[in-house]
Every structure is written in C-alpha cells, then in structure tokens.
C-alpha cells in the first residue's frame, strides 16, 4: 500500500530512554557515548552512524526527520542533552543544511541528516555550498529508500554527487557505516568540501554487532573568518569558485582511486562491480554458486568521483563484467564509458529486462539467479512454494490510531462538504492515511507542502471546491510559502491545518509549534500557527476542536462557503503523544443494547478500536481512547462511556 511520508512511524525507544525524558543525575549514560574502545554492541544501522559520528568528533548536527534516517537524529538529540554536542530539529532540510553549513564554515565538525527526498529540499543550498566549500568537516547523511518502504519515490541520490561535484561515500554493512563516517569527515576536511554519505533503508534499519572505537575530542565552538571574495557567491566570485570545485574534484578522484573503500576481492576471469548492500548479496551468491575462483569483485564505496583507473585495470583481464547496483545504472554508465576510453570491448551489463531491475530493492536470491545466468553457472533456483490455494487474506493496511483527531477532522469536513463537488489535496504525515477508504480524504499528493500549492492550481482551473489538508510540522516545513501565494493571488480554497502538537509520524519529534516543556526542555521559542496564518493576511480563519463534531461541522461549513482563502486550524494533541505524556484521557466507550446495528460508527469512522463479534460491533476498551466521536454520530445514541455502564 502507498504510505507516503517524510516520516514513517517507528517505536522510537532507545533502551529505556524515552524521547521526552530529561537526563537527570544518576541516569545511565547514553549507550552511544560509552567511551570503551573494543566494546562490542548490537546496533541498528542508524545507531552505528550516530556512534561513528560521535567517535569522529561530531559537534554540530541539524535535521528534519525522515524515515529511514530518523533514529540517527533521535540518538543525536538524546546525546546533545548530555554532552556539548549541539543538535537541532530544524524547520526543513534546507534550513537544517544551511544551519550546519554555517557551523562547518566556522571550523566545527558538522552533519545534517535527511532522507533522500529531503535533499531535494536542500538542493539549492547544496549546489552552491559545493562552490564555497567548508572549513570543518561537513557530512550530509542522505538515506535513500529503494522499494519506497516509507517514501513517495525511490530516486537514486548518487546523482546529487555528480550534479554538485561532491564526493559520495556508500557503506555496504553496519560495521562499515560506523567506520566510514570518520573517513567521510576526514575526507571533507582534506578536500574542504561537504561529503554526501549515502545509505539505503537496509543499512539504516539493519542491526549487527559493531565494535566501538576511540572517541575524537569534540570541538564545539568555532570561529568564522571574514572572506567575502570566497564566501559571497556573486557571479564574479562563483566563476572563480567553480574552477576551485573542479580542482577539488580532480583531487577527490585521486583519493577515490586509492581509497580503501574501493577494493577488489577474489579472483577470476569474470568481474562484478557493485556497491552498498548489493555487495553482501554478491558475496553470498558467489559462495553459494561456487564461483569464488571464477568471478572477482570490485566493491565501490567511494562512488563519486568513480575510480576510473581502478575500474579500467579491473576490466582489463575480465572476459565479461556485471554491474550490480540497486536503483539507476549510475555505475554502469560510468563503467561502460571507461571501457570505451580504454579500448576494451568486453561485454558489460547491469540493468535490463533479462538482468537486474531499476525498480525496488534487490534480494539475495534475485542477485544469485542473475549472476548464475550471466556467467553461465550451473544453478536451478528451487521451485517457489505454490500458494495458489491460499485464500485471499484480509489486508492489514496501516490505519489512523484509535481516537486519532485526524479521523474526527476528516469526518467533520466530509459531512460539512456533503453535496459539494470536492478535490482534497493532502500532504505528508500520518493524515496521509486518510486517503484510504472509508474516509477517502486525499486526492493528490506529490511532496511536502504540495497540499497548499496544488490547491491554488486546482481551484483556479476547476470549478470544484478545493479543501486541502496539511499537518503542523509540514505547514512549518513548506506550507507557508504556498499560503502566502494563495493570499497574494487571491485563490479560492480551504486549507485545513491539522495541528496535533507534534511531528507524529516519524515518532514524535518537536516542531516550531510544539511546547518544549512537554520534553522537559527549556530555552526554546514557540510559534503559534494561528498567529502565522493571521500575519499572512488570510481573510477567513477558524479554529476548531475536532472531537466536538457538531460544532466543528458548522464552523467548517461556514469556512467552506467563504470565497477566497480560508484556513481551518483543527487543534487536538496526537493521541499517542498525549498517552506518552500521561495526559488524562477520556473514559473508554462501549456499545449498549440500544445498538440497532446501523454500523455508522464502523463504516464511516473505521476506528481500529471497533471489532465485530457475533455480527455485532464492539469496542475494545483497551484501545478506545475515549474521544467520544463515535458516540456523537451514533444514530441511536447507543455508544456510552463505560462509567455509565449498568
């Protein structure tokens, strides 16, 4: 199923340390801060990356959360609360990038962390920071998501390295992910350029044993030396800086040629060139197929610039070569062009209908089969289990939580818009799930903030009523410019801002609207969405409490009838977050004998607290959060709070 999100849900618990807990005296030290070289620990890839950064003396980090990178940031956030590491959740990836770029230009080892599509947001800053360069090490953690486990596309961000002229480093294992972070920082300082550290989901979300190394001392304070003729990118300066960037690329190429992370393994008359997790699949496959003495492997871990001469030498005595890489034929195209330069005519293949796919992620069997076929090894894959007689199983799509305020808002908007022809542009967050039936509140989504921009276009070009949805964090991330545009160009639509006081989907990270007192943290400001919307000049603003269904429907109707831009702010704390803060919840409800089995509750709300037993609707009192929305819409008033149960 389609699960668009910057931000996929994760059980964000690192040991016993909640995201919210302030570090107090007597608490155990964060596990990633333990200074015990040689210690072995089972770490999630993202924890290994965070540890690698801490070992490398990381002193400054900024992020916008996005799966599969989120736990890197979570761990750094926790670490920052018990050390002099500075960490912030920024409003979006571009801002995070700029924040960290300034720290790096003040000589401090810095990092910014984002998912692949986040780099699109930060790309403007990326492209020209490459010209300016950095003083202290700057590592950009970029988490690609082949198969789109939690993303809206599966773009291959190695091309950002090529586009910007920046080095790209790619680990193949968890162990390597930790080691290569230190390498990336050293490389960045050597070249005085940012370095892109590219992972894929199976690195971020795999777990393996990692050995701790020594901790480099953190230098948290930097200094900035004025140098406007190298740091202010007016055309005359940039013309000079582009020359410098190309020189840096040349140097980077020589480093790539000799990098320990571009290495050859095994021997044989055939060759495989691979990167990332594919290296593991290739290694296992060659062993399984008994091809270890027939096929040698070139593993590329420093993939921009590619080690041209290393590749030419590798190909020289190969009879044929296969390129095994997930995503686009990034290496394949380069390797073919190097072969042409070297006058080599061996067969080089990679992507193709009969070989490897550009789609989704690889798996060991797929790579094994492909290697066997290409190199003519004797192998017949075992017959797949015949599942033709397995009955169709009920789907288990993710669903908005029991008592989620988004469900209440969607229901109220749907009722208020009854009889209207509508278009519902939506955005990225938990509420994207509202597009699924029976709510079916989501018609268009391309990226963070697109609900607002696309509303402008849809309302202008159609005669339908456009009602769009955006969450609080996404509004701050990239919804505001679209809303300014709507006010300026006098568009006609209703924007519903779903303000649940937290960035819920990635696992409850703060955003500028959040009360940081809830995290037991002080020293933060707070931006009130209503104030922002007012200040933008939106002519019609309504605030609703979505659990009050009737009142909300009336208020929404009025907003929908307004000609021009109207904004509805629907305020109710995320119910999971409220539970984690131990906020008082309502009493759970039950279905009394008055129930006539209309099933309006189940069929229109689809709250997961409902279940059917003996063909009657019941409420699971453990899951029910007591929001009372179903009780308000029951035609028989049959749903009652448990305290009234006789």
């Amino acid at each position: 199923s389609f699960t668009a999100c910057r931000n996929l849900s994760l059980t964000q618990k690192s040991g016993k340390r909640g995201l919210y807990a302030k570090v107090s005296k007597g608490r155990v030290m964060h596990k990633l801060l333990i200074d015990d070289p040689g210690k072995k620990m089972l770490l999630l890839g993202n924890e290994a990356i965070a540890r690698g950064a801490v070992e490398a003396g990381l002193a400054f980090a900024a992020t916008y959360p996005g799966t599969p990178s989120s736990e890197i940031s979570l761990n750094l956030f926790q670490i920052s609360q018990e050390s002099d590491l500075y960490f912030e959740y920024s409003t979006n990836e571009k801002v995070a990038f700029e924040v960290a770029a300034a720290a790096a230009n003040s000589g401090v080892r810095s990092m910014c962390i984002m998912k692949h599509v986040g780099l699109n947001v930060a790309a403007d800053a990326l492209m020209t920071l490459a010209y300016v360069g950095v003083k202290g090490g700057f590592v950009i953690i970029n988490a690609d998501d082949p198969f789109m486990f939690s993303s809206q596309n599966e773009q291959d961000n190695r091309y950002y390295g090529k586009l910007s002229g920046l080095p790209v480093i790619e680990p193949s294992s968890i162990k390597e992910a930790k080691e290569m972070i230190a390498y990336a920082f050293d490389l960045s300082e050597d070249l005085k350029e940012p370095v892109i550290f590219r992972t894929t989901t199976r690195i971020n979300h795999s777990t393996a044993s990692v050995e701790f190394g020594r901790m480099k001392k953190r230098v948290a304070k930097g200094s900035f030396t004025k140098d406007p003729f190298n740091c202010v990118t007016v055309p005359a300066v940039s013309r000079k800086l582009h020359v410098k960037l190309l020189k840096n690329m040349e140097k980077a190429e020589t480093l790539s040629e000799s990098s320990a992370y571009n290495f050859t393994a095994g021997k044989g008359e055939f060759g495989i060139i691979c990167n990332g997790v594919s290296y593991g699949y290739v290694t296992d496959a060659l062993k399984d197929l008994n091809l270890e003495n027939k096929v040698k492997v070139l593993r590329i871990g420093f993939s921009n610039p590619m080690p041209k001469n290393l590749i030419k030498n590798f190909l020289k005595d190969c009879k044929k070569a296969l390129i095994v890489e997930e995503g686009e034929p990034y290496m394949e195209e380069a390797v073919k062009s190097y072969a042409q330069e070297a006058g080599l005519t061996l067969q080089i293949r990679g992507k193709g209908e009969d070989l490897l796919s550009r789609l989704y992620e690889f798996d060991p069997a797929m790579v094994r089969k492909c290697i066997a076929k290409y190199f003519g090894a004797d192998y017949s894959p075992p017959a797949a289990t015949d599942l033709s007689d397995v009955p169709e199983l009920p789907q288990r799509p993710p669903n908005l939580c029991a008592g989620c305020s988004h469900r209440a808002t969607f229901y109220a908007v749907k009722k208020a818009a009854e009889g209207m022809e509508t278009i519902y542009p939506t955005d990225i967050g938990c509420y994207t799930l509202g597009f699924l039936p029976p709510l079916s509140m989501g018609d268009f989504l391309i990226c963070m903030g697109s609900s607002v921009g696309t509303s402008c276009g849809f309302s202008k070009v159609t005669d339908k009523k456009v009602i769009s949805f955006i969450g609080d964090s996404t509004f701050f991330h990239s919804g505001i410019p679209g809303l300014i545009n709507a006010v300026f160009n006098n568009h006609n639509f209703t924007l519903v801002i779903l303000d649940n006081d937290i960035t819920a989907m990635t696992g409850h990270q703060p955003n500028p609207g959040v009360d940081m007192g809830n995290f037991n943290l002080s020293g933060y400001g707070r931006v009130v969405i209503e104030d922002v919307v007012k200040a933008l000049g939106v002519p019609h603003i309504t605030v609703i409490r979505p659990y009050r269904i009737k009142k909300s429907i009336e208020a929404i109707k009025e907003a929908l009838n307004f000609k021009g831009v109207s904004v509805i702010i629907s305020k109710e704390m995320c119910t999971l977050y409220a539970k984690s803060l131990k906020k008082p919840m309502g009493k759970p409800f039950y279905i009394s004998d008055k129930c006539k089995n209309h099933r309006v509750c189940v069929n229109e709300l689809a709250c997961p607290a409902f279940y059917l037993k003996d063909n009657k609707v019941n409420i699971d009192s453990v899951r029910c959060s007591g929001c009372s929305v179903c009780a308000q819409i029951c035609p028989e008033n049959a749903i009652l709070p448990i305290r009234d149960k006789k």
Binding site: K40, S206, L393
Partner: protein, 196 residues
Amino acid sequence: MKTTRLIIVAVGGQGNLLASRILGEASLLSEIPVRMSELHGMAQRGGVVESSIVFGNAESTIISDGEADVLVGFEPSETLRALNKCNKNSTVITSLSPLPPFTVSIGRGVYPELGALQDLIRAKTKKLIAFDANALALEAGNVLSVNMVLLGALLQTGILPLSEDNVKEAIKARTGKFAESNIKAFELGFSAAKIS
C-alpha cells in the same frame, strides 16, 4: 558455519522487535555472527512488522522468498501471509490467537478459518508448531509476553545455533522487571512446542 535464516512476523505492538533484539543479543553472547533487518511498516498504526534474522556466515541481512529455514508468526493470518518466505523444508511456528485486521470489521475481507490455515501450512512445509500463545502468556502472568512464549517454542526446535541459556540470559538482561514473567512465558512456549 552453517547459515540459518529466520523470519518473524507480527502485528505492531506484539513485541517482534524485542524478540529479534533478544535473539541478536543471545547471538552476541554465543559469538554467533548475526545480521538482522527490520521492516517496521507502520507498527504503531496497526501495520505488520517483519524481521529477518540471518545467523552464521552470510553477508546479507534480508531473506528472499522461499529461503527461510524457520518462520515464526505471532498472529495466524500473518503467518499464512508470510508463507511465501518458506519452502518444503521450513519449520513454521505460529500462535493461534487471531488479531483480525480492521478490514474484517468493515466487511472488506474475511478472516481465514484456523483449521484450514494450519492444514495449508502443514501441506507446504516440513513442520508446523501451532498453539495459543496468548493463553500461555496469560498463564505466565504477562499478557504482553506472547513474544517470549514463541521464542521458547523456537528454541525448542533446536534449529537456531543458540542455546536456551543464552536466550534466557538475554531476556533477563533486556527486560528488567518483566524478566521473571518473561522467562516463565519462554519456558511455557518451550514445553508447548515439545508436545505440538
């Protein structure tokens, strides 16, 4: 060292990730190479959580269709859904306590009949161990210990290169004040697998 491939499937909230973690820690204790990969799906939003754990000498962290040596399912319909991971030599362990997905409540799907479900799995694999893990978790005094019950059953099969003691040690180290009921749950699962 021989490679053993294990898939665990569960519904969000059933403790799949903790179970995987414990097997990982136990491997570390026994110095068995281990690699794990998790798909959280949308765990907190009622989705499926799938872990793959590869013990022994392998570089891959994921398991292809048809290549699991063992499949452990914390929920019967999810066990059946993951059957594509198995082959005729696989062992399957499943709880028989259904958690029907929401789609069943709104009439968008039919929950499979448990008898037929077990027959299907038995016909396509080497061995099925199936029992009501919820009941045993309750008996252990901790309704949330379904994951430990199933770990017990898994260890009983002897398929993993881990000792019962190492897993128990990892459970104790990892689960603090719940360790006692978790160990009890583990032992109940261990015994249940013997007789099923």
